[in-house]
């Protein structure tokens, strides 16, 4: 995939400020890229505005990211990306214990607690797809009417069936590898004869080892029996194309992005560091979509340009422009201010940044729900040592898991979850393999041949089950702004207040029990210990748990059926400002037990159709 040379620099701020575009899109992540591609394909003039460093997506630049990751001492999700004080990013390593009345202001996110979240999102060209895991399950049909069914959360103004054709579009765009038959469970269904673009990626040896102890066993929950099995996850990573895809037309995988035709991109080869960054670009990132859009002369890109205010025409209520701050040098706080105008304005800057920008513009909306209902999956980690070598550290981070408890009537009382089997051992929980190496050298005095044999023996027996647990929307979990907290360009920083709801904690408690049961069936020694000094330590019914963030941010401009119960409608259009769209995870009224990217991509494909209709209706000239 060719990224057009110079596209990141070809548009001058002056020219852009003098142009009225059909659409101004804030954010060049997956949402903004899909919108830009869909609108420009129909000849619309689109301006994409990206806050992060603005360089062409060259192979050299991508490999510099990979090299920076390799060299980093702390390999968190942001480690491939240079620090940019003009566009700061939240980092997992920023999180500290929060004391009542004393917000933690040390990272980019100001956190008032009580729960200290280590959630993150990435502010570079390509957005969070530059670090995502690329797991792409669809939501369950029951996730869309959870309130009606189980009295929990919020109903969507859309059903699974409404979204189904757009799921297929998103799966094509991302290039998903999965087996439709294996994904047909708990009500998930497909168009007749549907096949995914690429064949299912194989389960790792570790998955198969876990499957031996799990497949065909049952658990009882709220009076119902659930049969368990280890299943492969759908993945946005290139695998074997399905010859039967698209009525037998097949699918051509999209390879690496570069300014020159040098690297064609490879199939997923199971690199364990695929999060944060796939060394061979087998994993989808939004530059693959953005490159297509930028091939068209009617798409302009302004990078290093941070939206600071959405301007509203007081008479019509329409957005009249977006005020932005452009910086030439990431190491300097100097910037110039511009106003950009479009017939439509699309905020696609992530759930937290969209809300931050609206609130910084004094736009709480009629429902006053902007920033509220912030959601992110709660992750509970459980780790154990298997009785024999199980090939841990082979394969990408996660290839399979247990998803049978993603849905069911038990959701009236407690949160559902999906279980990931982690191929990267205890890394997420304990800092393995580095922590193991340190312990063996410093504490166990191993060296030489003994160390060489002991280390792989222990590492390849590590099993980590990560439970991704539903967190329903709650208005007190929110993003707000406070004039006391600004970044270097003077933009207001997001202030996060978050409590893990009791409903979720009941799911957490059950997850722990469930993990112990699985470990017993596998004859594995449970090594799970939650550290009470962990900033994200939470107690519930006398037990303590460390809860990790999932980076699946949602809910902050929630969609609904009228202007008083929601910020946007089912098309992700603002109820209050008819030419303003807020797109991405922020529109989702629930996250269920699915990673959010596929669903938000599907929503963007759907919204792009409505944007085109609106543009045709409002700009058609006689």
């Amino acid at each position: 995939m060719i990224f057009p040379i110079g596209a990141s620099r070809r548009t001058e701020h002056q020219t852009a400020a003098e142009t009225v575009y059909d659409a101004v899109v804030i954010g060049a992540g997956i949402s903004g890229s899909i919108i830009a591609d869909e609108l420009s394909r129909e000849g619309k003039r689109v301006l994409v505005v990206e806050a992060g460093i603005g360089e062409d997506h060259s192979l050299e630049g991508y490999e510099a990211y990979v090299e920076r990751f390799y060299a980093a001492a702390v390999k968190d999700n942001q480690s491939p990306y240079p620090v940019n004080l003009n566009v700061p990013m939240p980092r997992g390593s920023d999180v500290h214990r929060i004391w009542p009345g004393q917000p933690d202001t040390s990272g980019y996110l100001v956190q008032t607690g009580p729960f200290a979240s280590d959630t993150s999102y990435t502010r570079v060209l390509g957005g969070t797809t530059m670090h995502w895991e690329a797991k792409t399950p669809r939501m369950l049909p029951e996730d869309f009417d959870l309130r009606t069914r189980y009295g929990v959360g919020r109903d969507w103004p859309l059903s699974y069936d409404d979204l189904m054709p757009y799921y297929a579009k998103a799966e094509r765009e991302i290039g998903v590898s999965a087996d439709a038959e294996h994904q047909s469970f708990l009500g998930v269904h497909f168009e007749p004869g549907y096949v995914y673009p690429m064949q299912e990626l194989p389960l790792s040896y570790l998955d198969q080892t876990v499957a031996k102890g799990v497949d065909g066993t049952f658990v009882e929950l709220a009076g119902e029996q659930y049969e368990l099995r280890v299943r492969a996850f759908p993945q946005g990573r290139n695998g074997v194309p399905s010859p039967a895809y698209d009525g037998g037309k097949g699918y051509v995988p999209i390879g690496a992005v570069s300014t020159s035709q040098v690297e064609e991109g490879e199939r997923c080869q199971g690199n364990i560091n695929c999060v944060p960054i796939c060394p061979v670009q087998a994993k989808y990132n939004a530059a693959k979509t953005l490159s297509k859009a930028l091939e068209r002369p009617n798409v302009h890109l302004l990078a290093q340009t941070v939206a600071s205010r959405v301007l509203i025409d007081a008479e019509t209520g329409r957005v009249s422009g977006v005020e932005v701050k452009a910086y030439a040098d990431p190491d300097s706080p100097r910037y110039t201010t511009w106003t950009l105008r479009g017939h439509l304005v699309v905020l696609a800057a992530s759930a937290i940044e969209n809300a931050r920008l609206m609130l910084a513009s004094d736009l709480q909306s009629s429902s006053e729900l902007v920033g509220r209902n912030l959601m992110d999956h709660a992750y509970l980690l459980n780790w154990a040592l298997l009785p024999e070598v199980a090939g841990t550290y082979r394969g990408t981070v996660c290839t399979g898991g247990i998803v049978d408890l993603r849905g069911g009537p038990f959701r009236r009382r407690q949160a559902a979850f999906a279980v990931d089997i982690h191929n990267d051992g205890w890394g997420w929980a304990t800092g393995s393999p580095y922590s193991d190496l340190n312990a063996m050298v410093d504490d166990e005095n191993l060296f030489g041949a003994a160390l060489r044999s002991a280390l792989p023996d222990r590492l390849s027996r590590q099993l980590l089950l990560a439970f991704m647990i539903d967190v329903p929307p709650n208005e007190s979990n929110r993003v707000s702004v406070d004039p006391r907290y600004t970044d270097r360009l003077g933009n207001l920083r997001p202030v996060i207040s978050f409590t893990v709801p009791e409903y979720t904690m009941r799911g957490v408690g059950y997850a722990r029990q469930f993990a112990r049961q699985v470990f017993q069936r596998l004859g594995a020694a449970d090594c799970t210990r939650y550290d009470p000094t962990d900033p994200s330590y939470v107690t519930y019914e006398g037990e303590g748990y460390a809860i990790r963030g999932g980076n699946h941010l949602a809910g902050t401009h929630v969609m609904g059926s009228n202007r008083l119960d929601s910020v946007v409608d089912a098309d992700q259009r603002s109820w209050d400002h008819e030419n303003l769209y807020l797109v991405g995870g922020g529109s989702m009224p629930g996250i269920g037990t699915a990673n959010v990217t596929l669903t938000l991509a599907a929503l963007c494909f759907r919204s792009a159709e409505r944007m085109l209709q609106q543009l045709r209706a409002e700009t058609s000239r006689p």
Binding site: L59, E60, P241, P243, G250, S260, Q261
Partner: protein, 357 residues
């Protein structure tokens, strides 16, 4: 059209076997140059070489598909399949040999010679009598070792003429091979250039054209008909220090600059042989082990091309092992020759005595 040289199915089998031999013959030199680059340096050269190797494997597979389509049996394990380097390619001027050597300006010139687009000036010059073969030669007319084709393109042109001739003679019965043996895009994924399933005249032409165009370009342009930059121009970018972009004219790239660090290369011994390594050294043992595993790899490919295409997935894993085994040799100096590093020797069977030239 002048009389074709391929007038029987057995001759077509010979030519297609030679085609596979030819496509494979560039792989050991390209891999040696690729893995001679110091890791973490020379990203541009690394990618150009890597992508080209993958496409040579595509050509190998396309040739196997054509051979299977006409009922032949691809066999990469036949003695002599892997040439003894240095070896001549069918270059009209006979001015260079193909060697397994480190990446260097000279090596780049060699590669450009291999990939150079050439069409014979006139029909009569498509083959050239080079006299008795003293060295290992590739692209020779089978059963006629003295006759060399002017270029790889002319060699494939001859195959195409033969396919047409035989199709005229025996009709669709020419394509008698089992479709089960065709390798499809499910099993071969190069990113650039799609595999062609060969079942008839049209698909045979598509497969043969793709092989020729990916090397040399199509219709005088720098791209093939699938908009892939031809190999010659990919390598020329390294020589000229600049990338091509669409609409560029040959030899005048206007894309972004690139840099080659000629010094960040391991000084591997050119056309290294087992006899260069002390008999009881670790290097010798590693080189022997490499040759054994490379022979096994060719055996695996032969099975993949004979009805077990799914084995190509295993072959990808094997390519990672080949990389590791090659770098183990390339990263180590030869005992007693402090300025030269080892390299895999690709000697898969007892070597004939070297003929003095």
């Amino acid at each position: 059209m002048p009389a074709p040289k391929i007038t029987s199915i057995d001759l077509l089998y010979d030519y297609l076997y030679t085609a596979m031999q030819l496509e494979h013959a560039t792989i050991p030199p390209y891999l040696t140059a690729l893995y001679s680059l110091t890791p973490g340096t020379n990203a541009d050269a690394f990618h150009v070489l890597r992508v080209t190797v993958v496409e040579e494997m595509l050509h190998l597979t396309l040739a196997a598909n054509v051979l299977n389509a006409v009922g032949g049996r691809p066999d990469l394990t036949r003695p002599g399949f892997v040439p003894t380097y240095p070896a001549y390619l069918p270059d009209g001027e006979d001015d260079f040999q193909v060697s397994r050597c480190a990446f260097s300006k000279q090596a780049l010139d060699m590669v450009l010679n291999i990939e150079r687009p050439r069409k014979a000036p006139e029909e009569a010059k498509r083959t050239i009598d080079r006299g008795q073969v003293k060295h290992s030669r590739l692209g020779v007319e089978p059963n006629h070792p003295a006759m060399q084709f002017y270029s790889i393109g002319e060699f494939y042109e001859e195959i195409w003429r033969g396919v047409q001739y035989l199709h005229k003679k025996c009709g669709d019965a020419l394509f008698s091979g089992s479709p089960e043996k065709q390798v499809s895009s499910e099993y071969f994924y190069s990113g650039g250039g799609q595999i062609v399933i060969v079942t008839d005249l049209k698909s045979a032409k598509a497969a043969l054209d793709l092989i020729a165009e990916q090397g040399e370009g199509f219709g005088g342009t720098i791209y093939d008909s699938e908009h892939e930059l031809a190999h010659y121009y990919r390598f020329e970018q390294l020589k000229l220090g600049r990338y091509y972009q669409s609409r560029d004219e040959p030899h005048q790239p206007t894309g972004p600059k690139l840099r080659v660090d000629w010094d960040s290369v391991y000084p591997v011994k050119t056309d290294a042989r087992l006899s260069d390594y002390p008999e009881d050294s670790e290097l010798h043992a590693a080189a022997v082990a490499f040759n054994r595993s490379y022979a096994d790899f060719l055996g695996l490919l032969t099975r993949a091309y004979n009805g077990e295409p799914a084995l190509l997935t295993d072959a990808v894993v094997e390519m990672f092992r080949i990389r590791d085994r090659m770098t183990r040799l390339i990263h180590n100096p030869i005992p007693g020759q402090s300025t030269l590093n080892a390299a895999p020797t690709f000697e898969l069977q007892p070597q004939p005595a070297v003929v003095a030239s």
